[in-house]
Subunit: 390 residues, 2 copies
């Protein structure tokens, strides 16, 4: 049932404990759902209520804490012993009288973990401000310490099995992109093209199924291509307009993202010209993504390429990706941008997405790559170009 | 382009300002994406980075603040003037050196809104602990006040146009459930049934398209039906096993959720017996959902019905729903459970979902209802029963 061997999970916990030791954190409260899954296998759409995995050298194995009705999901999807799984009663859910962190604090006290240095992920979607202030009030003997990124950084180099899942996710997103772009024709409703993307996302391939992407398919069209995160409407596609598709295939929660731009009819010259620059810059950045090179050096290769053509881009051009849950497939660690001196290492997985968004138009052509000694290896096969349907 | 008349948005802002006045809040920082959309129309999958709408009586209209690349999405989807839209540079994104709330604090100072009482949504997914501590450090002249639920509660009674969207969403989820249950057959892969659900979710009806649900379709099967929030795998469905489908149709971001359980082959007696009790209890709760009745009284009708059959349920049986983004379609206001004395009013929309989860099996049959003087009116037409495919 588990997507990885038990020994891989044990190694992840061991490395997390080592990192905690280096940072002087005795107990770690892991609330990022991707981090919870990476450490224990836990997988369910239950992150809309509070849940966490507790890691401490004083425990035999991590503890899972969540809503009582989700405790069976922890029994089904993790390697944890039943006695390591704690479900809080429903009276804690969305209540103005009590908070799930009251339950967590009581549990930490019972386990003798309520003192010393307690790490919390201050900058993670599902660790709200109220989680923090509740723990602060309840854990009077502890010192809360920011542990944002502690587990995220452990995930940045992918294991052989993780890379297998990335490759499977890539097969799925190649098929999704093909289905989506095939469906885009003048007069077809945007929602009907997206239906094809979703169908393939779930169905996957004959050999293995797909899972939900960490984003809904993004599908800006026409003037909407001036911005990246618009989704679709039920308006029909029109000749003379561009559409951007950005989506990911997912296997065992590993995302392989891709973006392409398609134009119905002959594209305007500025779009065709920008395509050439973007593809050249992307190719150069992918080639540069070798072990030993820094994140900002990869970005500089891109910047230099496009500067020669008079184009500028303010935002980062890529980030580490992999195992994740909505609303993001990025890992919030490495970013390809000036100032990020992270040194690339073999088997990192990076989504390079140098989107260009102008006043009323834009273009996105991206690829998810594996860092190898020969430079970036794109996971996907979909042609790296502006697709023109004439 | 906007899904509501401008006058409706103006009224929403006015009511929000009134509520702020009553609670002594001068400036409100709205970070819940559903609340942002409800106040301004803003719609994009950009909530994975920090963004907000600022409401204050000192402003002509709310301000939108988000990432620079998403500012065009605010121009495309909201009624706000260009000068009310602020985009922060990418150097604030997932940086360890600066936080988007530093930018927000600077903007509040520039606007003269950095003093007095500033309301923040302490318990909302995308307002992280670090957002709070950053504002606390930066806004030395302000008093931060918890405004969780302030906007949520304004949304609880639906307008005529909102109810139209709920009815359209209901048509979509009826079609999704039909497609999903039709696809479930022994030997069919779970992922292929989910592909059908997704296809209809996006495609909608010939008259109007669908949008992304605030949850991925949940599809526990076999022993997995003992817990509600598992998604699908690529394993085949088996005769002798039950599958729960819980999903929503969405129109203009309004969710209409529904759950049904389907059994392949003759169901075991305990499942058939429990079906009868659940349907009777659900029917009684729906009938009881009239204006003037409290949330806990509706739950008591359910509890009394099932107690007569020797069944107990610990968790709430329903909640307010409507406009929302992942990861939840609930509004985190009214809950049908003991202790919730909220008085039901006409045109509230409630998802009544009395799921029963036992050690290794479970059943969910739910309906999303409109509160009317005659009791709850179910939005959907799908038969309220355990579906048996023999």
């Amino acid at each position: 049932m588990l997507p990885f061997e038990l020994v891989e999970y044990r190694d992840r916990v061991k490395r997390t404990l080592e990192s905690m030791g280096q940072l002087g954190i005795e107990t770690l409260l892991v609330t990022n759902p991707a981090n919870m899954c990476w450490l224990t296998g836990y997988d369910g759409w239950s992150f809309y209520v509070h849940q966490m995995v507790i890691v401490s050298a004083a425990l035999d194995e991590p503890l899972w804490v969540g809503r009582l009705m989700d405790a069976n999901a922890a029994r089904v999807t993790t390697y944890l012993k039943p006695e390591s799984i704690y479900g809080y009663p429903d009276k804690y859910v969305q209540s103005t009288e009590r908070h799930p962190m009251n339950y967590v604090s009581d549990l930490l006290k019972e386990k003798g973990l309520a003192g010393g240095s307690v790490g919390v992920e201050m900058e993670t979607y599902y660790f709200t401000a109220a989680c923090f202030t509740t723990l602060l009030t309840d854990l009077t003997d502890a010192k809360l310490k920011d542990a944002t990124g502690l587990v995220n950084w452990q995930k940045i180099i992918k294991s052989p099995q993780e890379i297998i899942y990335e490759r499977q996710a890539a097969e799925i997103v190649d098929a999704m992109m093909t289905a989506g772009i095939n469906a885009i024709e003048p007069g077809v409703r945007q929602c009907d093209a997206v239906a094809e993307i979703y169908r393939v996302m779930a169905s996957g391939t004959p050999e293995f199924g797909g899972e939900y992407s960490s984003f809904a398919p993004m599908l800006p069209t026409g003037e909407g291509t001036s911005t990246p995160h618009l989704t679709w409407t039920d308006a029909p596609f029109k000749t003379g307009e561009a559409t951007i598709i950005e989506t990911s295939g997912v296997r065992k929660r590993y995302n392989c993202p891709m973006a392409r731009t398609v134009h119905l009819g002959k594209p305007p010259q500025k779009l065709a010209d920008t395509e050439k620059v973007v593809v050249e810059g992307l190719n150069n950045a992918i080639e540069a993504a070798k072990p030993g090179v820094t994140a900002e050096e990869v970005e500089a290769v891109w910047s230099k390429t496009i500067a020669a053509h008079g184009i500028e881009k303010e935002s980062r051009i890529g980030y580490s990706t992999g195992l994740n849950y909505p609303p993001d497939w990025g890992e919030a660690t490495l970013s390809l941008r000036p100032g990020d001196t992270t040194v690339l290492q073999e088997n990192m997985v990076i989504h390079i997405i140098p989107g260009i968004w102008m006043d009323d138009w834009g273009i996105e052509i991206s690829d998810c790559i594996l860092v190898t000694p020969n430079g970036g290896e794109a996971f996907c096969k979909y042609p790296r170009k502006l697709v023109v349907k004439d």
